[in-house]
C-alpha cells in the first residue's frame, strides 16, 4: 500500500497519533474555514439556482459520499476497493426493483420506507460478501478482485432482463413524498443530500477515532502485530467493508433518486474507476478529500466541454483531461489536492508553525 503509506509518513507517522489531538477539531477559532464552509453549504439554496444546487453541489455531495466509502476502506483499512460504486449502483437498482418505477413488470411497488432500508441492507450484504472475498487475499490483489466484481456486475446487469431489465435499465423511479413534501424538489432534495453526506462524513470521522477505527488502522499498518494482540484481522476488515457498503449504499440511493433512472451505464467499469479518481485526487488519507475530489470532478465534468471548445479543442476529450489530471496527481502528489495545499501552506509559514504539534484538522 505504498501510495497510502507514503502519504501517511509525510503526514507524520501513524494516524493514531494524529487522532489524539482531535478534541480541538470543533472549535471555531481553530478551523474558521470549516465553519465558514458549513455555513455556506447550509445557505446554499439562497445563493445558487436549481442547476447549481443539484447538478453541481448535490451531485458533488452524492459522488463524494460514495468516494468517502472508498476513502474509509483505503485510508483507514489500506484496502483499495474498486467495487464501491458497484455497491452504490446495486443499492440504486434495489430501490428501483423493490420500490415504484415505470417498469411495472419488474418493480414490486413497495413504499419507499420499506424499499429503501431493504435496498440498504442488501447493499450491505453485497459489500460484506464482496469484502469477505477480497480479504481472502492481500494488498494489490484487492484491486483486482474488487474490479472483477464490479465488472462482473456491470456485465450481469447488461445481460439480465428479469431483474435488471438489461441495457435499457429501469426508468421513472418514484421518489419519496413525506410530510407533504416532495423530497425531489430542488431545495428539499439538496438538504436531504446535505444531511446524509454530513451524517456519513461525521460517522467516518467518529469511527476513525473509535476503537473499531483505531483497530482498523492498526490492521492497516501491521496486520501481524494486531493478530498477535488478539484482534481478528479479517473480521475487522470485513466489518470495514460492511460499514463502507452502508455509506456507498446511501450514496447510491440518493443517486437513483437524483436521476430517477438507473441503467448498466451507471455501474460501468469507468464509473467504478471514477470513484477511485475522485478519492485519490482529493486526497485519500482524509475524509474531506473525497468531497474535494468530487467537487473538482463534477466541475470538470460539467464545464470541461465548454472550456475545451473555448480554447479551440475537441469538447469530447473530457476523459482525456480527467485521465491526465489523475496521472499528474498520482505521479506528483500521493495525497492528492489536500497534500498539495498542505505542502504549499507549510512552505508559506516555514518554521513558524512548529509550535502546533501533531495532526492537522479535518478542514
Amino acid at each position: 500500500m505504498s501510495l497510502i503509506q507514503e502519504a501517511r509518513t509525510r503526514e507524520g507517522g501513524l494516524a493514531a497519533r494524529g487522532a489524539v489531538s482531535q478534541p480541538a477539531a470543533w472549535s471555531v477559532t481553530e478551523h474558521p474555514w470549516a465553519w465558514a464552509l458549513a455555513a455556506l453549504l447550509l445557505i446554499m439554496p439562497l445563493i445558487a439556482n436549481g442547476f447549481f444546487l443539484i447538478e453541481i453541489f448535490g451531485t458533488t455531495l452524492i459522488l463524494g459520499t460514495i468516494a468517502l466509502s472508498l476513502m474509509f476502506l483505503a485510508g483507514y483499512g489500506g484496502m483499495v476497493s474498486l467495487m464501491q460504486l458497484t455497491i452504490a449502483g446495486f443499492a440504486g437498482y434495489m430501490v428501483a426493483v423493490f420500490g415504484v418505477s415505470g417498469n411495472a413488470n419488474i418493480s414490486l411497488g413497495w413504499p419507499w420506507w420499506l424499499a429503501t432500508p431493504t435496498a440498504l441492507v442488501l447493499a450491505m450484504l453485497f459489500g460484506t460478501l464482496g469484502g469477505a472475498l477480497a480479504v481472502r487475499t492481500e494488498g494489490i490483489y484487492t484491486i483486482m478482485i474488487t474490479l472483477a466484481i464490479g465488472a462482473a456486475f456491470y456485465y450481469f446487469t447488461n445481460q439480465n432482463w428479469a431483474i435488471f431489465n438489461g441495457h435499457t435499465g429501469i426508468n421513472t423511479i418514484a421518489t419519496p413524498h413525506v410530510l407533504g413534501i416532495n423530497w425531489r424538489t430542488d431545495i428539499a432534495f439538496y438538504y436531504l443530500i446535505l444531511a446524509v453526506a454530513a451524517l456519513c462524513y461525521f460517522a467516518v470521522l467518529y469511527l476513525s477515532r473509535a476503537p473499531f477505527g483505531l483497530a482498523l488502522q492498526g490492521v492497516r499498518d501491521n496486520p501481524r502485530r494486531m493478530a498477535a494482540l488478539g484482534f481478528n484481522v479479517n473480521a475487522n476488515r470485513i466489518a470495514a467493508y460492511a460499514f463502507a457498503a452502508l455509506i456507498a449504499g446511501l450514496g447510491g440511493v440518493l443517486q437513483v433518486w437524483n436521476y430517477r433512472q438507473i441503467s448498466p451505464g451507471s455501474v460501468a467499469v469507468e464509473r467504478c474507476i471514477d470513484i477511485l479518481i475522485v478519492a485519490v485526487v482529493g486526497g485519500i488519507t482524509r475524509p474531506v478529500g473525497a468531497y474535494i475530489g468530487a467537487f473538482i470532478f463534477v466541475i470538470l465534468r460539467t464545464f470541461a466541454l465548454d472550456f475545451l471548445v473555448k480554447v479551440g479543442l475537441d469538447g469530447n476529450r473530457f476523459r482525456l483531461l480527467i485521465g491526465l489530471g489523475f496521472l499528474v496527481i498520482v505521479l506528483f502528489s500521493s495525497d492528492g489536492v489536500i497534500g498539495l495545499y498542505e505542502r504549499w501552506r507549510k512552505r508559506g509559514q516555514a518554521g513558524g508553525a512548529r509550535s502546533r504539534p501533531g495532526g492537522h484538522g479535518h478542514g
Binding site: 500500500m1 505504498s2 501510495l3 497510502i4 507514503e6 483499495v80 472475498l133 481472502r136 487475499t137 494488498g139 494489490i140 490483489y141 484491486i143 483486482m144 478482485i145 474490479l147 472483477a148 466484481i149 465488472a151 462482473a152 456485465y155 450481469f156 445481460q159 439480465n160 432482463w161 428479469a162 467499469v269 469507468e270 474507476i273 477511485l276 479518481i277 485519490v280 475537441d314 469530447n316 476529450r317 476523459r319 482525456l320 480527467i322 485521465g323 491526465l324 489523475f326 496521472l327 498520482v330 505521479l331 500521493s334
Partner: protein, 336 residues
Amino acid sequence: MSRFIERHPIWSLVILLAVACLAWLIIAVWPPGLEEAVGRKKVFLSAVFNGITLGGLYFLVASGFTLIFGLMRNVNLAHGSLYLFGGYVGYGISTATGSWILAFIAAFIVVAVVGVLLQLLVFRRMEGQDLRQTMVTIGLSIVFADLMLWAFGGDFYQIQTPAWLVGPVQLPLMTAMKSSGEAVFLQYPLVRLVIFCGSVVIGVLMWLALNRTRVGMIVRAGVDDREILAATGVQIQLVFVLVFALGAGLAGIAGVVGGTFQSISPGEDTRFLLASLVVVIVGGMGSIPGAALGAVIIGLAEQLGSVYIPTYAIVVTFLIMVLVLALRPQGLLARR
C-alpha cells in the same frame, strides 16, 4: 502430477470424472433422451469449441498480464488498452497491405515498443510501489482509451480473414446420426482452429523459453525473489524491459486475433481486462500454466453459459472465481 493425486485423491477423482464426462459428451452420439433434455449435440459441440478457442485468445491476453505481474508485481490495468491498440494496429496494417501475417508482426512490434516505453519512462521510476504503479496504469488506461476513441472513433472494426483460412472445415466428430445411418460431422471455422493452434504453440514456446533457457531461468528467479536476483549481478532492469515488451507484444497479437475472431471497438479493452483478471485470479498469479488452465475454464464457462443460461452467463464465470478464491485463494496452479 502423481504427487497431486497422492495428496488430493478425492479431488483427482472428481476432476478425472469431470474430464471423462466431457470427453464422452464430445465423442459419443447422444441418446435421444439427452438431446431432448439439453438440446442438440451440435449446439453443445459448437459451444465447447467456441469456448476452447476463446480460451486460446484469453490465454494470449492473460499470459502477458500474468508474466508482467509475476515478475514486476505490476498489476497492469492498462493491459486491455494494449490489447485494443494491438487490434487497431493490426486492422490498419491488414487493410493497408492486405497481409494478415504482417498484421500480427506489426501489432507485436508496435505494442511491444509501447510496453518498453511504459516500463522505461513510467514504471521504472516507481519500482516497488505496487499500488502507485497500479494507479498509474488506471490513469494510463483512461488516457489510452480516450486517445484511441479520438483516433479511431466508436466504430466496429473487423480484420479480414485471409482467403486460405476462410470457410468451415469438417471435424471427425459426429454431431448426429441420420435415420439412414449416415453420420453427420461437425463443421467448424478453420480460422478459429488455426488461431487456437497458434496460441497453443505460443504457450508451449513460452513454457520452453521459461523452463529451458537461461533468460527463462533469470525470469523465473526474478518471479521468486528479484532482490536476490539483482544482488547476483543480473541486469534486472533489462529483464524487466524484455518481459514487459513480451507481455505487451502478446496483448498486441491477441488484439489482432480478437479483431479476426470477433471485432474491435471501444469497450473491448475493459472486457479483455476483466477476462485477464479473472483468468489470472483463477489460474494463479504469475503462473503461465495457470493462465492456460484458467483461460480454458473461463472460455468454456462463458460460452456454455451463454448458450444454456443466456441471462446469467456472467454469473457462472463469477462463481468460478468465487469458488477458487474460497478454496484456493492463491489460484489453482500458483506455487505460493
